[in-house]
Amino acid sequence: MTEQGLYCEAGDFYIDPWLPVPRAVITHAHGDHARWGCDAYLGAREGERVMRTRLGADASIRLVDYGEPVDLLGVRVSLHPAGHILGSAQVRIEHHGEVWVVSGDYKTESDPTCTAFQALRCHTFVTESTFGLPVYRWSPEAAALDEMRAWWRANAEAGRTSVLFAYALGKAQRVLAGLRGTEVGPIYTHGAIERLNRDYRDSGIAIADTVYAGSLARGHDYTGGLVLAPPSAGGSLWLRRFGAISTGFASGWMRIRGARRRRAIDRGFVLSDHVDWPSLLAAIEATGAERVWVTHGYREPVVRWLVEHGIDAEAVASRWEGEGESELQDLGVAGEEIVA
């Protein structure tokens, strides 16, 4: 780990650096992992569109298929599905028979908007720990979607508009994929989300039809609809147009009551793009790794647990942030102007 980020000396490249470097391997397009300004990027082909949106149209990005090996100064590098968002990848690094895997962010539950996580054997596993405490246990995705539908229905019957906050990249599209073909609608979107919806649709991902709220006339009646907005739109003037609303938030943090209450959100839906505690432990075990580096999240407890279970583990400081803290960076620019 260096000032710029996680560095592979033999291959002279960084993984998800937070400062500009000559060569960067990118695990996924969230703002805390894919930073603007590097000379050359390597990323998974599945995520091309969202990476372009994030890194700029003229960024130099080398795209590879999942599993396709690349030789960097004699180091064999390949990207493998991480199941986090569209195009997310684990980075597998092999040099003189020694294998490292850097997870980026990942989840093992299946998700219609991206290729499913693939377990890889390795000697050293670098894992995230965003939800690395046993209080974080997810119910299946279907449970959260059912709750969302019931909430929307009750609001529609009471003449209210449902405003659901979800991270603009990944979570919003996962919700839209889950609501596709259901009775929920019409679904309106904030500009920050609509632009990424376009990227997902262009990448061949089936999601529910949406109407960009910014394209509608002033005074449009939204009653009974579902509005999908990034969390940063909470409490903003932008929300005024929707009249009487009930607010919801789809995030793993909603497992904790205090996390919902301090945002003054009416309803929390536990839906995460990260592994929960049991999946995290299972994923680590499946790698067969003899050494584990634990990055962003609940590093210390996860390391202690692993050490107590006979695994050589250590906490590694990084500037990656896990679910939601990078939300403001994810938006980049104010959402309204984005869809031209």
Binding site: L133, V135, R257, G258, D266
Partner: protein, 544 residues
Amino acid sequence: MKDFAALVAAIDETTRTTEKVDAMVRYFTNAQPTDAAWAVHFLSGERPKRLVPVRRLAAWAIEASGIPDWLFEECYTAVGDLAETITLLLPDSASSIERPLHVWIEEHLLTLANLDESGQRQSILASWLALPARERFVWNKLITGGFRVGVSQPLVIRALSRVSGISEGVIAHRLSGTWSPRADSWTSLVAEQTRDADISKPYPFYLAYALEDEVESLGEASGWQVEWKWDGIRAQLVRRQGVSSLWSRGEELVTDRFPEIAAAAAQLPDGTVLDGEIMPWKGDKPLPFAQLQRRIGRKSLGPKILADVPVVLIVYDLLELAGVDVRHRPLSWRRGRLAELLASAGMKPNDSEPGACSEIFRLSPSIDAAAWQDVRDAWQRAREACAEGLMLKRLDGGYGVGRRRGGWWKWKVQPYAVDAVMIYAQAGHGRRASLNTDYTFAVWDGGALVPFAKAYSGLTDAEIRELDVWIRRNTVEKFGPVRSVKPEQVFELAFEGIQPSPRHKSGVAVRFPRIARWRTDKRPEDADTLATLHALMSTPPRES
């Protein structure tokens, strides 16, 4: 229990008062009387006494969830709430058993007191297995004594009024004082007949809003009564049928805590209710509030403490005269009758003795203010008068119920303010769990920073999140939950009072410190010094 847990969740999941009231109306309409009585009890902010030590509950939860102690602690720090931590860690219940709220309370909770440790353990473990997550959370809140619901008393009263068709004022009166959660209490709470016999019952307190606009916006100064705002314990003294009851604003019966007032109350005529402020008072001056706290903190009141911290009742208002509720009468009328009443009570023969009626009951002085400028001048003098500001009351207004806008205003003096550097941070609890929201602030003493105050409030949610990220990136050391941070962030702290304190490293103790502003424009070396703080003790606060 299922319905009650659903009610708690419904209240928790909305910030709109109409929806909270609707949820309560739905619950009370369908609940059986004993359940409804317990629900009223809990919604009114009453909590069951904690019968099992928290340490034991944690130990059993650790046992049931199969994780090590340290990991439980980590989870507790992240969640910030013991009842919730336990709820989230326990395995999901396989089969739930539905029992009414009152059965859980009367047969499972209250009976814990009669069980030994192993009996309690068995009972609690069985309860956890029997309850699904939402009910388990409410149950854990009840057994940890931490039950709190996000409704104010006026909302509960509004819901009860809608369910029963009885007016809100009558419901409020029936609920004030000691109310036992029994089926017959519920029945009489919502009963049609309005003859209430309880002789000790106080009226709901009328509370003032803080004045935000210029005082001139209140119309003519001559329409207002101006009094000092005292920093004591707001109280109501009820004298009926030879019995005296002194109630604090928390509607707690405190007659025994203030024997001087109870003794003097015997001189009041039956059917009298006074509203006033219990103040520690010696000679011709009030004592600091901290002195009164010394007295409140004691289990038994010896002659020494009674002599050291004598109290008086500064009387503000007259609510009942000769057994008749006079709250609807204008303040000018009530004030006139109050002055007559206190004068005639003071005429009793034993008035010359210490502790006599006129010594204990003091009519709250009204400040002569013909024009608003006089009021402003008085406000400037408030700290000299040992008051926290002024109270403005409409002379033609009645005595209202709860906090209402318009009739009464409090106008507090400007707080003291200093610029201080944040040196420690700690995660908060409840809705602030896993965010660093509790901060310690320091001022300069030579080249060193000396901590002098902790503050928890004053920042917006967005500022708290931004500061939290900064704290995580600028932590120097961690001592358990406390982080020391680089001394770089400067905040303007406001506080109400400052006193010498040998127990604090800084030598001063401040009252009600809170964050006034995040001074991102200031560097740490621009913060104030300990000498500035010491100088504040001898001067009134700065003007703003």
